[in-house]
Amino acid sequence: MAKVLVVDDEPNIVLSLEFLMQQAGFEVVTAEDGEAALARVADSAPDLILLDISLPGISGFDVLEQLRIDSHHQRLPIIMLTAHGREVEREKGLALGADDYVTKPFSTQALVEKVKALLAEDA
């Protein structure tokens, strides 16, 4: 069973994503900020990350950058989530090696399909 890490500082958003991923048949781990996210990657070895950009402390971009430096996680699928609709951020995220970029609020179905597609590609 594939494992999805959900990173967001909004408890209700984490709650909804957790439910959606479990419903889609994935195992879910969660984190509220960047530091926790990096810890979860280390201890739970997720197959995909849903990563919010504006986190307290280390931002989503920082987490993404650190993960991509590490050769183990260079191919780890990461979907960035953001409440900012700016093009610049989208490009920055993709340039840093994000696999996709989703603007909040998002369509739950589309998100679930993206996750499934990335995991299938990976497998």
């Binding site: 500082d9 909004e10 408890p11 209700n12 958003i13 709650l15 909804s16 994503l17 439910f19 959606l20 419903q23 509220e32 900020d33 530091e35 926790a36 504006s54 307290p56 402390g57 409440a83 900012h84 609709g85 700016r86 603007t103 909040k104 609020p105 998002f106 369509s107 739950t108 179905q109």
Partner: protein, 911 residues
């Protein structure tokens, strides 16, 4: 060394050197590489002021009258320091009007009057001839002393026949020199470059010669100044002689001599010549205004030491005027006396050269030409070259002036000391000063006033200085000196109107200037100016007005051909061509009408050669109709002053524009900044709105798509949707509040209310929520009543916000919040503190920024978890509301609980 042939050879050798320098200067000028285009040369040429009178006479005067000789040099120093103002204007006028001499200057100012010009020329001739004689006398005397020392040189000049008299030959040689270098060009307003170069050189020679005597006396004859002064101090009689008390006439004598030198420096024909006519560039005045005074200082440095030495040591001569020569002679030197002789010669010749050129120009342009024109006026149609005539007249004048000087010297010169003759001439020249200076600044001064003033001043001068001189020479019966004219005591020449005991020069200057200025001003006030005078007066007084420089004032008509033939007769063909044909012009027919500018140019060219008055007469003879348009010049003056005013306004406008531009730029900058802040705000708002929306949409879709959701989950998810919707509404409320606050459209409902009651109400509102969160809330209201002016709903919003924030940030395990209300001077302070981590110093203002989220350093993510997030708008809104009510809101350290403390201060309501 001191034999006649050697001295003569050296003297003539020196003159030959001058020749070479002058010829070189002229050749360079023709090649366009002027040697006098330097302010230093200009300053040195002004030093023509220092004549033989300075060279020999200063020591003589110092030995007789103490330090009074210094005043002769302080006057010019004063004038030069004013040079950038006063002399600059003279130079400007002279160059625009093509002035050739001071007589021309005065004549031009008073309506180009021939009679006034002639009067000035005559006075100059009479007044200055003695001064030329003085130079000849100095040369002859110094020569005699040099050759015959130690025999006494007390010979009478008149005893010799003129062909054995050295000064006669000196005069003739100088005449030749002056004719060669002073009358090369017809245009007297053109510069005599070679002559000026030679004069500047002579100034150097006399300075070097005088300084060498000074150094010799001070350091060879004596052991420096201290030794000399010590020896003088031993002789009380000598001390008195050199002291201030020796100055004749006391304070009036001081002031009189100073004024005399000041005026003479500006008005002596030769000074006017070098200062004004020969000036090539107004800017040279700047350096000359300090360099020339410096020169004067240098040449006066050793005067007193030499005088002292001359009085102390046996020199074999009783004449202090020749101390400069006899001191080195008595010491048995050979070379130095020769150098001194050359120095004296250079001082004398430079003066004679310049003075004669200036006087001869006056004689030809102001005395002879007007007479010639008057007689020829009737048959102007006579064709014939007059240019050669003009130069001829000037050359004859040169010879005559020098002969006149010689005659004066031979016949009268013996009875005066050098100093005396000089001051007599100074006083004569000073008579020109009022007409010149007042005319430059007062437009109302007119010709009749100037003529009468000059005449009266001259007569007083003649009566108080010239005639007594004649009388002392035995040429007149001397009884009028002691008894007064016709035995009337009030008319005694040295004590006019009972003014006794004055220095005779100060006395003469006072009365002559009183008469001169009095008549000039008095008569001008009560008589009228002719139109031409009004024009000239305006052009002179407004000379520095830039609008007037190139105005053509001719309105009459003539043809090119007529102008051409007129100029041709007086200036010669080549000069005429230069004046009339501009290189850029298309060739014109002689029968074409001459434009006003051309007529003006022709007149200026003629002025340069013949003087203003004659030029005007000649131009009038060919120009028909209204010669000159007074109204137009007055209107030019008006328009230029209007233009100046307009200009000033324009400048002011442009300054204003620049200021407005600057303000606009700043405003634009501010707008840009606001725009950036607005963009940021919009981005933040959208971010804040998207967050609850995300949860709402996600759970709504989950509820829609998941059919088999257990009830418990469904209720939970629906609760989340409701809560997030409430959060969204609250957020929108806050954003609207903030927008209203910032645009100033927040409607408050201010009323008198009791802050104590309001605080209780607010505490009740949050009490339950705080209890739910386990927050221990202490309320400490010191007062029973706290009247303030405020909007109750808004204030309650603020207090609830403060309590809410404190609850959120209080310690997680045992959260405590304390509210305290107290009076502080004329205010009430409500403070809300918590036992949380506090707010660091640099964050304390930032918490009031929009969307600012507090982040605690060193606080682990676990601790933040579960803490309800604010929008980051509560504090900015609260501060805005409090500020609107005239209060303040800020952060401090919590005094009792150790966390953060927010303090709201509101003014006490008036009773």
């Amino acid at each position: 060394m001191r034999t006649e042939p050697v001295v003569l050879t050296v003297a003539f050798g020196y003159l030959a050197l001058l020749f070479v320098i002058a010829a070189w200067g002229d050749r360079r000028a023709e090649q366009g590489r002027s040697v006098i285009g330097s302010p230093t040369v200009y300053a040195l040429s002004i030093a023509v002021y220092c004549t033989a009178w300075t060279f020999y006479g200063s020591v003589g005067r110092a030995a007789e009258y103490g330090p009074s000789f210094l005043l002769i040099y302080l006057g010019p120093t004063l004038a030069m320091l004013m040079g950038p103002l006063l002399i600059r204007k003279m130079v400007r006028i002279a160059s625009t009007q093509r002035i050739t001499s001071i007589a021309d200057f005065i004549s031009a100012r008073y309506g180009k009057s021939s009679s006034l010009g002639a009067l000035v020329a005559l006075i100059a001739l009479i007044g200055i001839t003695p001064y030329i004689a003085l130079q000849l006398k100095a040369i002859t005397l110094s020569h005699a002393v040099l050759v015959s020392y130690p025999e006494a040189t007390d010979f009478r000049l008149a005893d010799e026949s003129f062909w054995t008299d050295k000064s006669f030959w000196v005069a003739l040689v100088l005449a030749v020199f002056i004719i060669l270098f002073g009358t090369r060009h017809l245009d007297a307003s053109e510069r005599h470059e070679g002559m000026v170069a030679a004069i500047a050189f002579e100034s150097l020679v006399k300075l070097v010669a005088f300084l060498s005597v000074g150094v010799f006396v001070l350091f060879v004859l004596f052991n420096g100044p201290a030794d000399l002064f010590a020896q003088v101090a031993d002789d009380p009689a000598l001390v008195d002689k050199l002291g201030l008390a020796a100055v004749p006439g006391g304070a009036t004598g001081w002031f009189g001599t100073l004024a005399l030198a000041f005026f003479a420096f500006l008005a002596l024909p030769r000074q006017f010549q070098v200062l004004v006519v020969e000036n090539v560039d107004e800017r040279h005045l700047k350096r000359a205004s300090w360099l020339f005074p410096l020169y004067l200082l240098a040449i006066n440095l050793f005067v007193i030491p030499i005088a002292m030495a001359g009085l102390l040591l046996p020199t074999g001569s009783s004449d202090p005027d020749s101390f400069v020569l006899t001191l080195p002679l008595a010491a048995g030197l050979d070379g130095t006396p020769l150098l001194v002789f050359i120095g004296g010669l250079s001082a004398a010749t430079s003066m004679v050269i310049v003075e004669t050129i200036a006087l001869s120009t006056m004689v030809s342009n102001q005395l002879v030409m007007p007479l010639l024109l008057r007689s020829r006026h009737l048959h102007l149609s006579t064709q014939g070259e007059l240019a050669g005539w003009l130069l001829g007249i000037r050359r004859v004048a040169i010879v005559l002036i020098l002969l006149l000087g010689y005659l004066y010297h031979a016949l009268i010169g013996d009875s005066y000391s050098l100093v005396t003759i000089g001051l007599v001439s100074f006083a004569a020249a000073a008579q020109f000063a009022p007409a010149m200076l007042i005319g430059m600044y007062w437009r109302g001064a007119n010709r009749i006033g100037a003529s009468l003033g000059l005449s009266a001043g001259f007569l007083v001068w003649a009566y108080t200085l010239l005639l007594p001189g004649f009388a002392q020479s035995g040429w007149l019966d001397a009884t009028f000196l002691t008894e007064g004219l016709w035995g009337v005591a009030w008319l005694k020449p040295y004590a006019l109107f009972g003014l006794d005991g004055w220095d005779i020069y100060a006395h003469s200057l006072l009365w002559s200037l009183v008469a001169n200025v009095g008549l000039l001003v008095g008569v001008s006030l009560f008589t009228r100016q002719s139109p031409l005078e009004q024009t000239q007066a305006a052009l002179f007084t407004e000379a520095m007005n830039p609008g007037l420089e190139h105005t053509s004032l001719w309105r009459g008509q003539t043809t090119r051909g007529e102008l051409k033939s007129l100029l041709g007769r007086y200036l010669g063909a080549s000069a005429t061509a230069r004046v009339l044909d501009n290189p850029g012009d298309t060739p014109r027919d002689d029968s074409d009408p001459a434009p006003p500018a051309l007529i003006a140019r022709a007149e200026r060219a003629l002025s340069g050669a013949l003087g203003n008055a004659s030029a005007r007469v000649l131009i009038n003879s060919v120009v028909r109709g209204e010669a000159l348009d007074l109204e137009s010049i007055l209107s030019i003056l008006d328009t230029t002053s209007q233009a100046l005013e307009y200009n000033r306004q324009l400048e002011q406008k442009s300054r204003e524009l620049a200021r407005i531009g600057e303000e606009l730029r700043a405003a634009n900058e501010r707008l840009r900044e606001l725009d950036r802040l607005k963009d940021e705000f919009v981005a933040m708002v959208s971010h804040e709105l998207r967050t609850p929306l995300t949860s709402i949409r996600a759970f709504a879709e989950i509820l829609r798509d998941s059919d088999s959701l257990p009830d418990e989950k469904r209720v939970h998810f629906l609760d989340v949707v409701v809560l997030e919707s409430q959060r969204l509404s609250r957020l929108i409320e806050e954003i609207l509040d903030l927008a209203r606050l910032e645009s100033g459209r927040l409607t408050l409902n201010p009323q008198r209310l009791d802050l104590v009651a309001l605080t209780r109400r607010s505490v009740d509102a949050v009490h339950r929520l705080q209890e739910d969160r386990g927050v221990a809330l202490e309320v400490d209201l010191e007062l029973n009543e706290a009247p303030v002016i405020g909007d109750p709903d808004r204030l309650e919003q603020v207090i609830i916000n403060l309590l809410d924030n404190a609850g959120k940030f209080a310690d997680d395990d045992a959260p405590r919040v304390r509210l305290h209300l107290a009076r502080h001077k004329a205010h009430y302070r409500l403070s809300v503190e918590d036992n949380g981590p506090g707010i660091v110093e640099e964050e304390r203002e930032r918490v009031f920024e929009k969307f600012h989220q507090l982040q605690y350093h060193g606080e682990s993510a676990d601790k933040v978890r579960g803490r309800p997030r604010g929008s980051g708008l509560g504090l900015p809104i609260s501060r805005g509301i409090v500020a609107h009510l005239g209060g303040r809101l800020w952060v401090e350290d919590a005094p009792t609980l150790g966390g953060a403390c927010l303090i709201m201060e509101l003014p006490q309501a008036p009773h």
